[in-house]
Subunit: 412 residues, 2 copies
């Protein structure tokens, strides 16, 4: 029997004060090693047992060295037991030296934690094209002091940040196969790419026992509806990575697509990724507002997300939201150039509960009410295309003076 | 015998102080009708004889009413004798009333100039979704006072502007089939779309005699390498239109693809469109600099232009240029996500005469020299992919505080 989506959704509970070490059997660390000027810049996550791992990487053809090393590790036997992450230097466009450095980080962390080299994942974020200051990294790996309290998760969360203005923590739980399964995430990202100090990284831990192949397929599917639906500036980093570690410590019966609670697990992963993705959009460089666009009445979910992304990616929509201007002309124009075939005469549009358009024609609305709504922290734009019954969402942020400031004057 | 491109290029001469009425047999007008607050907002171009016409329109699926009417006019017999253009109101998303209003503009201009209705083209630019103030337009059409001096061309050029900061005038000539043929253009555009006050329009006049079908094909081809290679903010307007009128007053033998000077005509059209396109990029909303990106070593011209557009469209490249920061990591990242298959290890890159990358690895360069170069008005970014022998260009502008200001606070 197929359970409907809202029933499943109700089974997912947010864990208050939960984080990346809340799932059983995970520890974390975060310290200052000197790659960045003063803030924490080196972190690790550790699982007491090798965890089934799944990852997705940037689609940019220019990929940083740590991505190659992580792919190689996962390819070995599908398991990861520890992750090392540094911020301040992306180890991208660094040639052979960069590859060597990423391998060195992997090897040294494995030695430190007495685990297999091929069970270590590596990630970096920061300046492109500079050699890694390996003396600093190598001399600090022995100082990575693991712990399983909130303070350690927070130290890790801080160590992976660059231009981010806050730590991005997520934690949900669900009962799956009669066992409580927990999923935590620590995420960073502010510009979709900001090669001086940039990139989007998300590390997801869960104590669920999940088949590794099923986990990889689940992640790929969920990414398309979550992390791939956010945009800050339309640029795609060389270093993006989302990594899920499932260590099985919850002792549930192993999850595969055939398990009766598979949909609950998918929803747990979706909620986790969506929450993390929204945190990135909300903390977009210079952003003052989170924009959520929901497109209904599309022929396919992909169409709906494409239109939603076109709207939330439009510089003109983003500046209008910053300027609290209910400029629906910019929204309908972004629908028109989204690449999805639409009917120009059947579009409904609303911001919050204020209807702006019906059947593509303007509806009388109070400008002052709209302006007042657009001053809120989260702006909902809703569009109905009236072409089908599928819907999709995308998230972004407003475009502000501070975006220009952060990106124009970073090195000065 | 195929003449090489540089020989052809040398035959195209810029006409000093030339404009849209410099080609024989064209007149223009521009007046204030009250659609905008105080500046000129209604203009017309008139040819003494019906001209062979070609046009390309926005690819946005939401198309303004005047585009439908202009298409219908050209479809009649391929000829246009007069154009009416207003600024301040885009007549877009205005339903049946908008269509009626565009037809009324066409009819009233035809009556005014005593020409066939189907020989009139209509264009609008300005706010989306507001009904046209037809009382103002209709009462001012009789006041459109045509003339063939520079003052009239300038009045027209002013009447089509919105957020533009300067009038965009182009004029070139070439000897074709033994006759001097002149081509002028009057262009507007500042945001690629700025639906409050936006859109890209270009009206090109020439006294060349050109076969109408050949002219349409030539325009389509040239557009891909000129107007379609500029970006200000990545948004595509509902009202974009490029219209060429060729009235044959130069009395050259009719031009078709088979004519021995066809390549000269193509180059004349290319130069005209490229010049006009660059003026738009240079006047991008809030821009302080024109950015020209040239990509060489591509497998196809289309690939080269795609990579060039990806670079010039990157918000991070644009802010770096504004901030005079030689941030090549942002440029290489934009190459990597352009959608064109590249070799990540064979990229050369320079700004002006300063080499930044060779074979994708950083070359030592003087930061202060680079910063000083990036203070110029026109910034050249050169990339060689080393994959083939094709090249292509794209143009854009920097992203500044003023872009945000113009677009966030327009209506306040």
């Amino acid at each position: 029997m197929k359970v409907d989506k809202s029933t499943i959704d109700a089974q997912i509970k947010e864990v208050e004060n939960g984080n990346v070490v809340t799932p059983k059997g995970f520890q974390a660390a975060g310290i200052y090693s000197g790659v960045k000027r003063s803030r924490k810049d080196l972190g690790a996550i550790y699982s007491t047992t090798p965890a089934n791992a799944a990852a997705v990487y940037t689609l940019n053809q220019i990929q940083a060295a740590p991505l190659h090393v992580t792919k190689e590790s996962i390819a070995e036997d599908g398991k990861i037991q520890a992750v090392i992450v540094n911020s301040g230097n992306a180890n991208a466009c660094t040639g052979k030296q960069g590859e060597e450095d990423a391998y060195t980080m992997r090897k040294e962390l494995a030695e430190q934690f007495s685990i297999k080299e091929e069970h270590v994942a590596v990630a970096s974020t920061g300046i492109i094209g500079l050699d890694m200051p390996m003396d600093k990294i190598s001399s600090h790996i022995p100082k990575l002091d693991l712990g399983e309290t909130t303070a350690y998760a927070e130290a890790f969360g801080e160590a992976i940040l660059t231009t981010d203005t806050f730590k991005k923590t997520t934690c949900f739980e669900a009962v799956i196969g009669g066992k409580t399964v927990t999923m935590g995430a620590s995420t960073k990202g502010s510009g979709m790419i900001e090669p001086n100090m940039g990139t989007m990284l998300s590390f997801i831990t869960t104590d669920a026992e999940v088949d590794q192949i099923a986990l990889q397929q689940a992640l790929k599917k969920v990414i398309d509806q979550t992390f791939n639906c956010i945009t800050v500036d339309g640029d795609t980093s060389t270093n993006d990575m989302v990594l899920v570690l499932a260590n099985g410590e919850a002792q549930n019966e192993i999850l595969t697509e055939a398990h009766e609670d598979w949909d609950v697990f998918i929803q747990l992963l979706t909620k986790t990724c969506e929450h993390a993705a929204k945190l990135i959009a909300q903390d977009g460089e210079g952003a003052t507002k989170l924009i959520e666009v929901e497109v209904a009445g599309a022929k396919t979910g992909e169409d709906a997300r494409k239109v939603a992304k076109s709207i939330v990616g439009s510089s003109l929509v983003k500046t209008a939201v910053f300027g609290t201007d209910a400029n629906w002309g910019r929204i309908i124009a972004a629908i028109g150039y989204s690449g999805v075939e639409i009917n120009p005469a059947t579009i409904d549009m609303a911001i919050g509960s204020i209807t702006l358009l019906e059947n593509s024609e303007t509806v009388e609305f109070s400008e002052s009410e709209a302006t007042s709504y657009l001053q809120e922290d989260v702006i909902h734009i809703k569009v109905d295309l009236h072409l089908g019954d599928r819907s999709g969402k995308a998230w972004g942020c407003d475009l502000t003076y501070d975006y220009v400031k952060i990106n124009a004057s970073y090195r000065s």
